[in-house]
């Protein structure tokens, strides 16, 4: 084998090593993804089995993009606010980041203000402590108004 033939093999070998590196890293990445998939699947199962304890019907959407009449399902813990982490996100300047929390406790729904700037109103009254509400009660969060309904 002369030098030129050897050079040809080396030349192809060098490029082949580059592709081998790519292949190996893709394989490692695939293994990482498979490992990460398992907890995600478990998360999907729990959200599917979520419990609906009541509903909120939108009466006045204020400056949010929602339409009056839209319904929101209430879970055992429902948070309302402007931050995207809330269960119900109200994109309005009158709504605080974490504005209101609705809890299901002792077979009743409780509304609790989370220290919001503009307060939470139940049937027109600003609430200082958590209050129990029944279907038909009115809830005002910032410039958005809801009515409670049974599940």
């Amino acid at each position: 084998m002369d030098n030129y033939q050897l050079l040809l093999y080396l030349r192809i070998g060098l490029v082949a090593i580059l592709y081998l590196v790519i292949l190996q890293i893709v394989l490692v990445s695939r293994r990482d993804l498979k490992r990460a998939e398992k907890p995600v699947a478990a998360g999907v199962a729990t959200t599917r089995a979520r419990q609906v304890v009541g509903r909120l019907i939108l009466i006045d959407s204020g400056s949010t993009p929602y339409k009056p009449g839209q319904e929101f399902a209430l879970e055992p813990i429902t948070t309302i606010g402007r931050a995207p982490t809330n269960s119900i996100v109200l994109d309005s300047t009158f709504v605080s980041t974490e504005h209101t929390r609705i809890l299901y406790k002792d077979k009743s729904l409780w509304v609790e203000d989370m220290g919001s700037r503009n307060g939470t109103l139940v049937n027109g009254q600003t609430i200082a402590q958590p209050v129990a509400v029944a279907p038909g009660a009115l809830l005002q969060v910032g410039d958005v108004r809801f009515e409670f309904a049974a599940a």
Partner: protein, 445 residues
């Protein structure tokens, strides 16, 4: 110390491949050196090549062992990808050095690589608590602005026509340093700090212009300031690449933080309008575009292909000469291209490794960006997520801008190809980014 369960076996295995690559490349250079018919103008003495090849292998495994001790859970693919790209860089410097009249080029690049790996490990160690980066975000921004300011003042005294104009010479020892390399890291930290604190504000839109939703006017301020900074860099330093890098970086982080495509559309339209105005007013901009458009023009008096367009034309010829599988390491003639070891390293690589090699190189950069974005999905704190996105975007934007410049898709800029191009500031700054990403990859929620 070396817990068998927590040992970084994947990284060790992946690091073997760059080592084999370096050894095969060394072997090929030795054969080219011994060929009876001289195919290169200068040949490489075998012993001169010995140190860079084995030095880099030793440095990569040294960095690996240190990471086993200080960050056993960190991502195991980043160092091998960066190491592979650095190996290509050292091998190309080693091979081009004798031909461009700097026989110690490979050795110098090795020194930068060792410094880079050391700084990488040091960064991982120093950022055990990332909060100090976040708490001093305005300090980082100030450092960045001061660096740009110095560069702006300094660039007026430069008369060179080289695309890389933002160089600071330190002392008389021939040491030089590119402030823009440090600037990009400072800006990522600042943007991550600023956007993670204001992301809710930026996500609100109550200002509507037609189909576009804009953020509240007071939050438009930073956006306009960034656009202004990018244009200032373009006009003052005449660095189109750096301007695109700063602005692209800000846009990618802003999009991830706010999830509003309208910001991107609005900013790109504003940038395009600004660029058009600048193109109309400044002859410098028209000149740069004209060079790209008429690179092959040989008619007098401009004779662009022999003067301003010489580099672009020779770079394209180098790519073309490579063909599909390349001319072979040491058998190309890419040193004819001006700045073949820095701005045109992609053309040099393309000539000797061919189309197949360039595709693999792009693949390596894509994997680097993929791993960076993968790391960005894991932390819970938005500051950490945004920082990973920004640091990854630095690699992505730089690679696109310089490859597009080399291939005559856009005007050539002085942005170095990460890890591959010859140069200390760039290599060390890129290894700082790898160090930060390694640290961020340990933050799993």
């Amino acid at each position: 110390m070396f817990n068998r369960q927590r040992y970084r076996w994947t990284e060790l295995w992946l690091l073997l491949l760059p080592s084999v690559f370096l050894l095969v490349g060394y072997f090929e250079l030795l054969i080219v050196h011994n060929l009876s018919v001289p195919v290169t103008s200068h040949n490489l003495p075998p012993l001169d090549a010995f140190t860079p090849i084995f030095g880099l292998i030793a440095a990569l495994f040294g960095a690996h062992l240190l990471l086993v001790i200080i960050a056993p859970d960190a991502d195991q693919t980043l160092l091998p990808i960066a190491g592979m790209l650095t190996s290509i860089g050292v091998l190309m410097s080693l091979r081009l050095g004798p031909d461009i009249g700097v026989p110690t080029l490979g050795l110098k690049q090795l020194a930068f690589a060792i410094a880079g790996l050391a700084v990488c490990v040091l960064t991982v160690w120093a950022t055990r608590d990332l909060r100090w980066l976040r708490n001093y975000k305005y300090t980082w921004a100030a450092v960045g602005i001061v660096l740009v300011g110095i560069t702006l003042l300094h660039s007026h005294s430069l008369s060179t026509n080289a695309p890389s104009r933002d160089v600071l010479n330190i002392g008389s020892g021939g040491l030089s340093f590119q402030p823009s390399e440090i600037l990009k890291i400072c800006l990522v930290i600042f943007f991550a700090g600023y956007l993670s604190e204001n992301r809710e504000m930026l996500a609100i839109s109550n200002l509507r212009v037609g189909p576009l939703k804009l953020p509240p006017l007071k939050h438009l301020g930073p956006l306009i300031a960034m656009l202004g900074l990018a244009l200032l860099i373009f006009l003052g330093v005449k660095e189109l690449g750096l301007a695109i890098l700063v602005f692209g970086l800000f846009l990618s982080m802003l999009y991830v933080a706010s999830n509003r495509p309208s910001y991107i559309i609005g900013s790109v339209v504003a940038f395009a309008l600004g660029a058009l105005v600048i193109y109309r007013i400044f002859p410098y901009a028209q000149q740069r575009i004209a060079i790209v458009g008429n690179a092959f023009d040989t008619t007098p008096p401009a004779r662009i292909a022999y003067n301003a367009g010489f580099q672009i034309v020779q770079g394209l010829i180098a790519f073309g000469n490579g063909g599909v599988f390349g001319a072979g390491l040491g058998l190309g003639k890419s040193w004819i291209v001006p700045f073949s070891h820095t701005d045109y390293i992609a053309a040099s690589f393309g000539e000797e490794f061919g189309f197949a090699g360039v595709l693999a190189l792009i693949g390596l950069f894509m994997l680097l960006v993929y791993r960076g974005m993968h790391i960005a999905t894991r932390p819970r704190a938005s500051f950490n997520q945004l920082m990973a996105v920004g640091l990854t975007a630095v690699f992505a934007i730089q690679t696109i801008v310089i490859l597009a410049g080399n291939l005559k898709i856009m005007p050539l800029t002085g942005i170095p190809l990460p890890f591959v191009a010859y140069g200390g500031s760039s290599l060390i700054a890129n290894y700082i980014i790898i160090g930060l990403l390694l640290r961020l990859s340990q933050d799993k929620s």
